[in-house]
């Protein structure tokens, strides 16, 4: 039946049809609904059923635990500050968070996919699935207080300038979700950090509690940067009932995502592990190094649990397009992300969190790391050729 529907619609969207300007959209929806029955023309006659749609949908599934928990945490923080945590059911907390997040996700997808569809049509290419992940990541790595118009602006900037001008999914140098965050971080710093942005303050219909303007809630990392010792327990950090960007707070939820990504082989364990090793080692060196600041003396394991470290290591650093593509290069790439993230946290008083900048910075260096690894392969071959002669 679905096939018949698409067959019926096809003439309208084909060249010369009334709706031919939406051909890419039609094709995108058709390949979404029906697996293409295009058969191989040359080379291998048979193919594995893995494709980029499957890969992207698995990443989206891996993100869901963090998203669902993030929604709950939005309601939880709202009720906590309102002082009405005891009388609110968990479902109401979650539903409120869901209602806060849904418009963000919808705006992110509408703007991002709108641009992607337009560009695909213009280039006469198939729609790429890459934005399915990016579009979900962007609202998850922003503070809950980010206005929708700002989100839309950041999405448009990142899709156009971080992705499409390089040639689309697979060709970008920087992680588009992090570029969106960096864009807002530098353009609207007051809306991206500080103590006011981590709370949803408006009630939606009967859910949530309206909080007065000026209500503040500091993240543990914000407190550390402000040279005060946060009273967050390790348990809170692991469970994630602390303020922070929507998806980043719960280590358990991120861990579930990590297990999915590693089990399916979609994320590289080399990158992921190296980020933690690099970060843990650097934080430990600061611990024993004698630098007398609160953030430098924060135990190394707390550094790994706080802020966006886990989220960045699991979902951002492992983005195959922007990370190092050689197997040995992945160790260095991941390691230096961990090192830089902690360095920024400890040594830069302006930025409480360093994960975003560390990953973007290493995105830039990933091709250099690959160059060195590839060059070693080339030298090895040259040496062998010379010795054979």
């Amino acid at each position: 039946m679905i096939k018949e529907l698409f067959d019926k619609l096809r003439p309208h969207f084909s060249e010369g049809g009334k709706l031919s300007c939406f051909h890419s959209v039609y094709e995108g929806f058709e390949s979404f609904a029906l697996v293409s029955n295009e058969t191989s023309k040359t080379g291998a006659n048979i193919h594995d059923c893995i494709d980029s749609k499957r890969i992207m949908s698995v990443v989206v599934i891996a993100l869901l635990p963090a998203l669902l928990f993030g929604m709950y945490n939005i309601g939880y923080q709202n009720a906590l500050v309102a002082g009405k945590l005891a009388e609110t059911s968990w479902f109401s907390l979650w539903l409120y968070g869901c209602l806060v997040m849904l418009p963000k996700i919808i705006v992110s997808y509408l703007v991002g996919l709108g641009i992607e569809f337009t560009v695909a049509q213009w280039r006469k290419e198939e729609i790429n699935e890459g934005y399915l992940v990016t579009g979900l990541l962007i609202p998850m790595i922003l503070p809950v207080g980010t206005p929708l118009w700002m989100l839309a602006l950041a999405v448009a900037f990142s899709v156009i300038f971080a992705k499409e001008i390089f040639g689309g999914t697979g060709m970008n140098i920087f992680n588009p979700a992090l570029v969106a965050r960096a864009f807002l971080f530098f353009s609207y710093p007051t809306k991206m950090s500080g103590n006011e942005v981590w709370l949803a303050k408006d009630a939606i219909a009967n859910w949530g509690y309206a909080l007065p303007n000026g209500t503040t809630m500091a993240t543990p990392l914000g407190e550390l940067a402000a040279k005060t010792q946060p009273d967050t327990s390790i348990c809170d950090m692991v469970v994630g009932l602390i303020p922070g960007s929507v998806g980043e707070t719960s280590v358990i939820a991120i861990l579930i995502g990590a297990v999915i990504l590693l089990w399916t082989g979609i994320a590289s364990w080399k990158t992921m592990l190296s980020v933690f090793v690099g970060g843990g080692l650097t934080a430990w060196l600061f611990n024993i190094g004698g630098l007398d600041t609160v953030v430098a003396q924060t135990p190394w394991y707390e550094h790994l649990l706080l802020g966006g470290f886990c989220f960045g290591a699991v979902f951002m650093a492992t983005d195959p397009v922007t990370s190092a593509r050689t197997e040995s290069g992945k160790y260095f790439y991941g390691f230096f992300i961990g090192v830089l993230a902690i360095l920024i946290r400890v040594l830069n008083p302006g930025y409480p969190e360093g994960m975003m900048l560390a990953i973007l910075f290493m995105n830039m260096f990933a091709p250099l790391i690959d160059y060195i690894v590839v060059d070693r392969n080339i030298k090895r071959r040259q040496k062998r050729t010379l010795s054979n002669q």
Binding site: L34, I46, H47, I55, A324
Partner: protein, 449 residues
């Protein structure tokens, strides 16, 4: 004997493997020497339609050097010289007279001949077309004596013919063939661990290397890479082991007998088994002996499903053909939301599908690409199935961008399209890797020659 253990690779369990049963086909009604046999050579036709030919009569030659010839495997009359666009020679089709008379003055092969004399005799008898040369993976032109000759005695590609079965009864032919090849250059045999005690293996005549690892460890290119990699100025020859038997049989009897035992496999074949048939026979003759289950939505492949070429009933097999497969085409399949389904019955290297639950169960795959072509997104996919010290992804990119220096530096002279067959299978971006490698090699050959 040296043992090379390779970890990278992938065995694909396809259903329809040929069972160990041989049917012998009668002499075909038509026979042809097709363009698949002179890959990389510019053919010059030597006969006209209506000419009477015998076994061993030269039909085509290499226009550039005129050393290698393609000879007839039957006696009869030239029925058609088939040409394509711009008069490109596609095939010489002969109607056999059923007698298989051989020309009188064919050169003989002897065990103690010089390298030049042996190579010349092979080229003149038409047996030279059994060889490919590396780098470039094309037919030899007979102008150079190779550095080495490599023979891989096993093939782990899905549905490929099992040489252990094919060689039965031809062991002496094989041994003689190796002794003939030894005249030209050192011979390296690549075997798998189970073949270590095979009686047809002699360490006196050849350097024996054991390759223990998943597909494509049976690819001769992988074996060359581990034993003695090829560079820009090298020339090594490769030949399939059943081809060595043909050479040995000719050396022993003086009769050119192009009969081969090929596997007819795939889940669209009624009874997947082996068929003894003249190389160059029509596919229709093969299917007359071992019929298809159905004729609609079937793809017939000359070769195995990973490296073979799409062919059809009217076409002819190549002289090097070791198997003919028939699998589902898949044009009629319309899977709704297939990319999110668990796909228990399909095959995937990715654990995101649940086919890993029945890992060893033979699967029935069709020819759908099952996804859209994309830029390279995932990294390391090719390297996981390429058991060579070659950075596949970077080599492919260098070829696509036309960076010849980089291609050379990254080892394009060490690879052949078939080495990337498994990588092409697992590629989630659905790129035509074998075509890319072939184009890269062709461009380099034009640059260098």
């Amino acid at each position: 004997m040296k043992v090379f253990k390779t970890k990278r690779g992938l065995n694909i369990p396809l259903s329809g493997i040929a069972s160990e049963k041989i049917t012998t086909a009668s002499l075909p009604k038509l026979w042809a020497l097709t363009e698949a046999n002179w890959q990389g050579l510019q053919p010059k036709i030597l006969v006209h339609e209506g000419d009477v030919v015998f076994v061993g009569t030269p039909l085509v030659t290499d226009k550039k050097n005129g050393i290698v010839v393609g000879t007839s495997a039957v006696s009869g009359v030239v029925k058609e010289i088939r040409r394509g666009e711009r008069r490109k020679l596609l095939a010489v089709i002969i109607e056999p007279d059923g007698k298989r008379e051989q020309v009188a003055d064919l050169p003989t092969l002897s065990v103690n001949a010089s390298p030049e004399a042996t190579a010349k005799a092979l080229c003149q008898t038409g047996l030279g077309l059994l060889f490919h040369r590396r780098p470039y993976d094309i037919c030899i032109d007979g102008t150079r004596i190779p550095r080495d000759i490599f023979v891989s005695c096993f093939n782990l590609m899905p549905l490929a013919a099992d040489f252990d079965f094919v060689i039965k009864g031809k062991e002496h032919d094989f041994e003689t063939g190796i002794r003939i090849l030894k005249n030209i250059a050192p011979v390296h045999l690549g075997i798998r661990p189970t073949q270590t005690n095979a009686e047809w293996i002699s360490e006196e005549d050849a350097d024996i290397n054991i390759f223990d690892g998943p597909n494509p460890s049976g690819n001769v290119g992988v074996q060359i890479h581990h034993i003695a990699p090829t560079g820009k100025n090298d020339e090594v020859w490769t030949i399939d082991p059943a081809g060595v038997c043909l050479i040995g049989a000719y050396a022993l009897t003086g009769k050119l007998n192009w009969e081969r035992t090929i596997a007819v496999a795939g889940d669209k074949v009624t009874e997947p088994s082996y068929l003894r048939i003249l190389a160059g026979s029509p596919i229709s003759e093969i299917l007359a002996n071992i019929p298809l289950k159905e004729t609609e939505d079937v793809r017939i492949i000359d070769g195995n499903p990973l490296t073979g070429t799409h062919t059809d009933v009217d076409a002819f097999t190549a002289l090097r053909t070791t198997e003919v497969c028939a699998i589902a085409e898949g044009h009629n399949k319309h899977e709704v939301l297939g990319w999110i389904l668990p796909r228990f019955k399909d095959f995937s290297v990715s654990r995101s599908y649940f086919s890993w639950l029945q890992k060893s169960k033979a699967k029935s795959l069709d020819c759908r690409i099952k996804g859209g072509k994309r830029q390279m997104i995932m990294s390391g996919e090719y390297d996981r199935v390429l058991p060579m010290d070659v950075l596949g992804e970077f080599l492919i990119k260098a070829i696509i961008t036309g960076d010849i220096d980089k291609q050379e530096a990254l080892g394009i002279y060490e690879v052949a399209p078939e080495d990337f067959a498994v990588a092409e299978f697992v590629d989630s971006s659905k790129l035509e890797l074998q075509r890319v490698i072939r184009e890269g090699l062709d461009i380099l050959r034009k640059e260098n020659e």
